[in-house]
């Protein structure tokens, strides 16, 4: 199948775009990656995702699919041969979708909250919330993995991808705030899982280098801080 039939619009730093890299890798699908500049979005991106104008977008046979979780499920259904990404049992699928929603809507919002928290007390509260969320997910990991390496069992799947894509940004938050969030003592299951996830064949070649991500984050936050200082006062 020609590579140009499958296109992914993404950015190297986007955890959501990383999900698509990993999923297509699991399915051994050849694809063309289009690196977007979010400061100057391409016509293709604006046309493909007019509602959110965000990455990632998967374009398959010229038809766009948006929203990373919808894309993951699409990939699993459009390329149905093994290995599968979602569990086959409807109950386990519902559990996986539940935790994906928790991670995206609650936990990731808290992680973003660390960057926007101002003052030492607010920062500490934000970091504590991220850690507490991980403790909740640690329990979910125990139930889902049933003693195996990944949320999905022996191989990485939906929930592994959903959480695993944030490991780089979690590292960034740890380094920038000089704290440990993914704590081997409090979350032994997740700590071990994280190492195995990053080594997985579908992950290791596409996951951005975490120190490069840290440099990038430092640069972005510095620019944001400067812009704030230079911004005209509100009247």
């Amino acid at each position: 199948m020609a590579g140009s039939e499958v296109k992914v619009l993404g950015t190297w730093a986007s955890p959501f775009a990383l999900r698509i890299h990993i999923a297509l890798g699991i399915k051994s699908v050849t694809y063309e990656w289009v690196e977007e500049n979010l400061e100057a979005k391409s016509q293709l991106l604006l046309e493909s995702n007019p509602i959110n104008k965000q990455v990632p977008v998967l374009i398959h046979h010229h038809k766009p699919i948006c929203e990373s979780l919808a894309i993951l499920q699409y990939i699993d259904e459009a390329w149905p041969s093994a290995p599968s990404i979602l569990p086959s049992d409807p109950y386990h699928r519902a559990v996986a979708r539940f935790w994906a929603a928790y991670i995206d809507h609650k936990w990731f919002t808290w992680l973003k909250g660390v960057a926007s928290a101002e003052g030492a007390e607010a920062k500490k509260a934000a970091l504590d919330q991220v850690r507490e969320g991980l403790v909740v997910v640690e329990e979910a990991f125990g139930k889902c993995s049933k003693g195996k390496d990944f949320f999905s069992g022996d191989r990485i799947g939906y929930l592994d991808i959903v959480l695993g894509c944030f490991l780089g940004w979690l590292y960034v938050a740890e380094k920038r705030n000089d704290v440990k969030l993914l704590d081997e003592e409090k979350m032994p299951g997740l700590a071990a899982w994280a190492i195995k996830f990053c080594l997985d064949g579908a992950v290791k070649d596409v996951m951005p280098d975490k120190d490069e991500l840290l440099d990038y984050a430092n640069m972005v936050f510095q620019a944001m801080a400067k812009a704030k200082l230079n911004a005209p006062p509100n009247n």
Partner: protein, 223 residues
């Protein structure tokens, strides 16, 4: 062995109604248990310890939470009657995208915007109204000239959205606007959906919802 299905719900919840519509579409018998969210039952806390919210479906003792996840679960388990998601992966992705849009809206869900419509005043209310109508207009655009969001057949996205229609009267009264004036196609679609038994038996009377909102506003000190 017969399936045991229990639904923990609140009568006025448009999110809970989604599950009721899906269960009715599949012709399933279930036990409805009304919840008091001011005094949460041990069962609710046990079945949804993370969010402690309704709706929760309990199927043969196992809980499923989050309304759209429950609807997909129902569709997947009872797949040979009235399929809600289309079979084509691309169309499924579209349905999921729009359902997700309604519930997330890059920050505020349609539910949250609607809540602010009847709970707040002044500028806050105006902002919520604007966001709410923008969402409805986009959804109307997505509907186009199709009879249902699912095309010829009532489907997943129809289930996700139709339950908001019994709340329109309440939103309009407190927000001082008309959904029909801004989105006539959407109102026509909601009436078409109401012709289905599964929808008319699951949605609540708009006047009762209006009364519920009056009560909630008093309770939350909005008066």
């Amino acid at each position: 062995m017969a399936d045991e299905i229990i639904l923990l719900d609140l009568w006025a919840s448009m999110l809970g109604m989604r599950v009721r519509v899906a269960l009715a579409e599949k012709g399933l018998k279930y036990e409805y248990r009304e919840q008091d969210l001011r005094n949460k039952s041990p069962l609710l806390l046990e079945m949804n310890p993370v969010h402690k919210k309704i709706p929760v479906l309990i199927h043969n003792g196992k809980p499923i939470c989050e309304s759209l996840i429950i609807v997909q679960y129902i569709d997947e388990v009872w797949y040979n009657k009235s399929p809600l998601l289309p079979s084509d992966p691309y169309q499924r992705a579209q349905a999921r995208f729009w359902a997700d849009y309604t519930d997330k809206l890059n920050a505020k869900s349609l539910y949250e915007l609607g809540r602010q419509l009847w709970l707040t005043k002044g500028e806050e209310q105006e902002t919520a109204k604007k966001g709410f109508m923008e969402c409805l207009k986009l959804l109307e655009g997505e509907l186009g000239d199709k009879p249902y969001f699912g095309g010829e057949n009532f489907g997943f996205l129809d289930v996700a959205l139709v339950t908001f229609s019994c709340w329109f009267f309440a939103y309009e009264s407190f927000g001082n606007f008309s959904v029909e004036a801004e989105c006539p196609k959407l109102v026509a679609w909601s009436k078409r959906c109401m012709e289905k038994e599964s929808v008319s038996s699951s949605l609540e009377d708009p006047l009762k919802i209006h009364g519920f909102v009056i009560m909630m506003r008093k309770e939350l000190g909005a008066e």
